[in-house]
């Protein structure tokens, strides 16, 4: 493939395979053999997924300014440990074979095992799934607000979800409208505005699913959308609120730390004020850091997992320690033993052809669940090896591969749209009077 004239590539690390892509062809016309599965998505900009050496990238055609801005923004967010897609490169100065300029592109790396919300259920969205999606998104929004990031377009469509031990972990996908306010952080008005945008977008997305017959009857879009506001406020208050108590109740400081740990946060800095007489104490977390269990797990075992998965694995590690640990053995040594004796045998037991189904940490979580159910049903302690075999054959084998699910497209049309989409289908009216649907 010829590299046209003076292609300009900005990237932290260039994968040579990137150079082989047909940058002199408009994204829309890229040959099918380069495109990973699926038809092009309909969104503000044209986005297509491409197979690169061993992984999938998302290529978005947009203006050079926007591409650069979003690239820098995503890099900044990554440095700040915010869960978001990984920016790979900005490619500008594109031209077709006749020298006609083509739009710049932003290349991001597809997040393995992440799913768009529409891919998280097969038939219709169930109330509990809706709840878990919204909870994951509200946690992400709180984390973004804490570092001073105003999103401006909070929605389920602009988020990717990874399974996380029965919950979901949310990742920011689209940072195009976002802005980072360092220094003073966000104003209440900015946070409120993001919340309002989130509420309206979520309601709209669920109403759209409902219009397509993909929501179970007892899901009320408005009610679900209001949950994000409530969840967000609870979390925000816990993470940033002042709490005051009499001086003799100083145990409440530890209690606050424990509560935040349970929510998955570490307190890096805590403000403590006492009044003149020292009878009242006021505390407020100043710097909090998500990933409490993730960090502990990675420190002890080197396993990189989502927060709830990490919690689950650590629980298992703790019960392993309680059962087999000797008093003089230190935590690290025990953890090492647990990885070698418990975790790795399970991961190794997964047949190669099933490795694309779920992440190892998620498999482990599901296995523990399955083992618990088996034990309950059979009223005995099912050994791990037996549970693994049963889980692989009864559960894992029947799941779809989720390593690179990029279909179905999120299916949202946003503005501004390009003029090329002018080819209107004319007989596309819905049945009946429009008033019945408004």
């Amino acid at each position: 493939m010829a590299i046209s004239g003076s292609l300009n590539i900005t990237a932290a690390m260039v994968d040579p395979a990137l150079l082989d892509l047909p940058w002199d062809v408009p994204l829309e016309d890229w040959p099918e053999n380069t495109i990973a599965a699926l038809p092009k998505g309909i969104s503000r900009h044209l986005v297509r997924f491409v197979n690169l050496s061993g992984y999938v990238i998302a290529v978005k055609e947009t203006s050079e300014d926007l591409a650069r801005r979003e690239y820098e923004m995503l890099r900044t967010l990554q440095r700040m440990d915010v869960p978001c897609v990984e920016p790979v490169a900005v490619i500008s100065n594109r031209a077709d074979e006749n020298g006609q300029p083509l739009e710049a592109v932003l290349v991001t790396r597809h997040l393995k095992f992440s799913l768009p919300y529409r891919a998280l259920f097969s038939q219709a969205l169930r109330p509990d799934t809706a709840t878990r999606l919204v909870d994951a998104l509200s946690l992400l929004l709180v984390r973004l607000h804490i570092i001073g990031f105003f999103w401006g377009d909070v929605s389920l469509s602009n988020t990717l979800f990874r399974r996380d031990a029965g919950s979901f972990a949310a990742y920011l996908v689209d940072a195009e409208t976002g802005k980072l306010y360092t220094g003073g952080g966000l104003s209440n008005g900015q946070r409120e505005n993001d919340l309002e945008i989130a509420r309206v977008n979520i309601a709209g997305e669920l109403m759209d699913l409902a219009a397509g017959g993909r929501v179970e009857e007892d899901v009320d879009p408005v009610e679900v959308s209001e949950r994000i506001v409530a969840q967000y406020r609870t979390l925000w208050a816990e993470l940033t609120g002042w709490e005051s108590f009499p001086g003799y109740e100083r145990w409440r400081i530890n209690e606050r730390v424990d509560r935040l740990n349970a929510l998955g946060f570490d307190i890096e800095e805590l403000a403590i004020r006492t009044d003149q007489e020292g009878t009242q104490v006021r505390i407020q977390p100043k710097v909090v850091d998500a990933g409490h269990h993730q960090r502990r797990l990675i420190r002890l075992t080197g396993i990189d997992a989502e927060e709830n998965q990490a919690r689950r694995l650590l629980n298992d590690l703790d019960s392993y320690a309680a059962t087999f640990g000797r008093e003089e053995q230190d935590e690290e040594a025990l953890a090492h033993e647990w990885v070698a004796q418990v975790f790795e045998p399970v991961v190794r037991a997964i047949p190669r052809d099933l490795k694309g189904k779920l992440e190892p940490a998620e498999v482990f979580h599901q296995l523990l669940e399955h083992r618990w159910f088996m034990s309950q049903k059979q009223s005995r302690d099912v050994p791990l090896a037996e549970a693994v075999a049963a889980y692989i054959d009864d559960i894992l084998r029947h799941r779809r591969d989720e390593a690179t699910v990029i279909n179905p497209q999120t299916g949202i049309l946003t503005l501004p749209l390009d003029e090329e989409e002018l080819d209107a289908e004319l007989d596309a009216d819905a049945d009946g009077d429009w008033r019945s649907r408004v």
Binding site: E192, L209, V222, I412, L415, E419, L426
Partner: protein, 366 residues
């Protein structure tokens, strides 16, 4: 509908000593289309965000109608940010797409239908109410998104650089559409742009900001004919007004070897023996024969059909000064020539060399 008032509204970012918006006083009349314009960092977007409730107001207040909204949360201000990334949902009809936010707000079905129909008529979307967005053209989709804002019937529309992502052609089209729609709706609108052409073509009035300070507010014509100061003079108009220092003389100001007559009072007001003078490219008379005026070396002539622009430079007080003038698109001097420029009588803007404030009266357009 309502007026908007900024009353000494100030925004000072934490850790900063200079306010991003400094005691802004501005009144937007009911139904008016006001454009906030200025270079980046001038405070225009911050002002809009203060009005939207996204930015804290550290001093002063903001009113919508008679209501002080300074401490009111954004969603309770009865404003609409138009062109925020409005999504269109593929399984919902145009009517549903336009009306769903009303449903969330708990507005009853009849009222929803009434408002959707009204907006659809305004936007020429009535025939498509029962259609899915996929079957609409790009322009129609854009109007559906506008409809989402219109059905809410807000007191004020806010638009922050809504055209910045569009290509040049679509930008001009949409510009016209927005302006004409706003006039039909009669909703008070505050519009932010960095593009002075956009400001001149769209606004009833324009407020020019720089470094957080309001420089001037007026109709496009006010700003063009009588810019308050050197900054506004240079910012409004394209190509920009020629601005340079000139010596005051008996009865006027020196323009090369010629003297441009000025009102007597100007000399008395000026803070020194120099002034800054400004002449728009179309107010310069170009002569190819050696004579009175400012000698200018021609660097380039840009032909734009009927008109053209001559870009040249001159030596004024030992300083290279770039000059732009409008010339005939076909018959014009060529690159490398020296030409002699004089200002059309009565078309010179005079500013104080120290303060930059305007000294002369308005230059009225012929």
């Amino acid at each position: 509908m309502a007026s908007v008032t900024f009353d000494h509204a100030t925004r000072l970012y934490p850790g900063s000593t200079r306010p991003a918006v400094d005691a802004l006083n501005l009144e937007v009349a009911d139904g008016e289309f006001l454009v906030l314009v200025g270079p980046s960092g001038c405070g225009k977007s911050t002002s809009l965000r203060m009005l939207a409730g996204l930015e804290e107001v550290n001093a002063g207040s903001i009113l919508i109608g008679d209501r002080n909204v300074t401490d009111v949360p954004p969603k309770d201000r009865d404003i609409a940010m138009v062109f925020q990334n409005y999504a269109l949902y593929p399984h919902m009809t145009v009517a549903e797409n336009m009306g769903f936010a009303l449903k969330i707000a708990g507005i009853n079905k009849d009222e929803r239908a009434t408002r959707v129909l009204e907006a659809a008529r305004l936007l020429d979307l009535e025939p498509y109410l029962n259609r899915k967005p996929k079957a609409l053209s790009g322009g129609q989709r854009q109007r559906v998104a506008m409809g989402r804002a219109i059905v809410r019937q807000p007191q004020v529309f806010l638009m922050d650089e809504p055209l910045s992502n569009l290509d040049a052609k679509l930008r001009v089209q949409t510009r016209t559409q927005i302006a004409s729609l706003q006039r039909r709706l009669g909703v008070t609108t505050v519009y932010v742009t960095h593009d002075q052409t956009e400001a001149l073509t769209m606004g009833d009035r324009i407020a020019v900001l720089k470094d957080g300070l309001l420089q001037q507010v007026g109709t496009p014509r006010d700003l063009y004919e009588a810019p308050n100061n050197v900054f506004v003079a240079g910012f409004i108009g394209s190509p920009a007004m020629n601005l340079f220092t000139a010596d005051l003389t008996e009865g006027g100001v020196r323009f090369g070897t010629s003297v441009v007559p000025l009102e007597r009072s100007i000399g008395a007001q000026a803070s020194g023996s120099h002034v800054t003078i400004g002449v728009r490219p179309e107010d310069i008379v170009v002569s190819q024969t050696r004579g009175e005026g400012l000698a200018v070396h021609v660097d380039l002539v840009e032909e734009l059909g009927a008109d053209g622009y001559l870009y040249g430079h001159s030596d004024i007080d030992g300083k290279r000064t770039d000059i732009v003038t409008r010339v005939d698109g076909r018959i014009h001097p060529s690159m490398g020539e020296t030409v002699y420029l004089t200002a059309a009588p009565g078309h010179v803007h005079v500013f104080d060399v120290e303060s930059g404030e305007r000294l002369s009266s308005a230059v009225t357009l012929a």
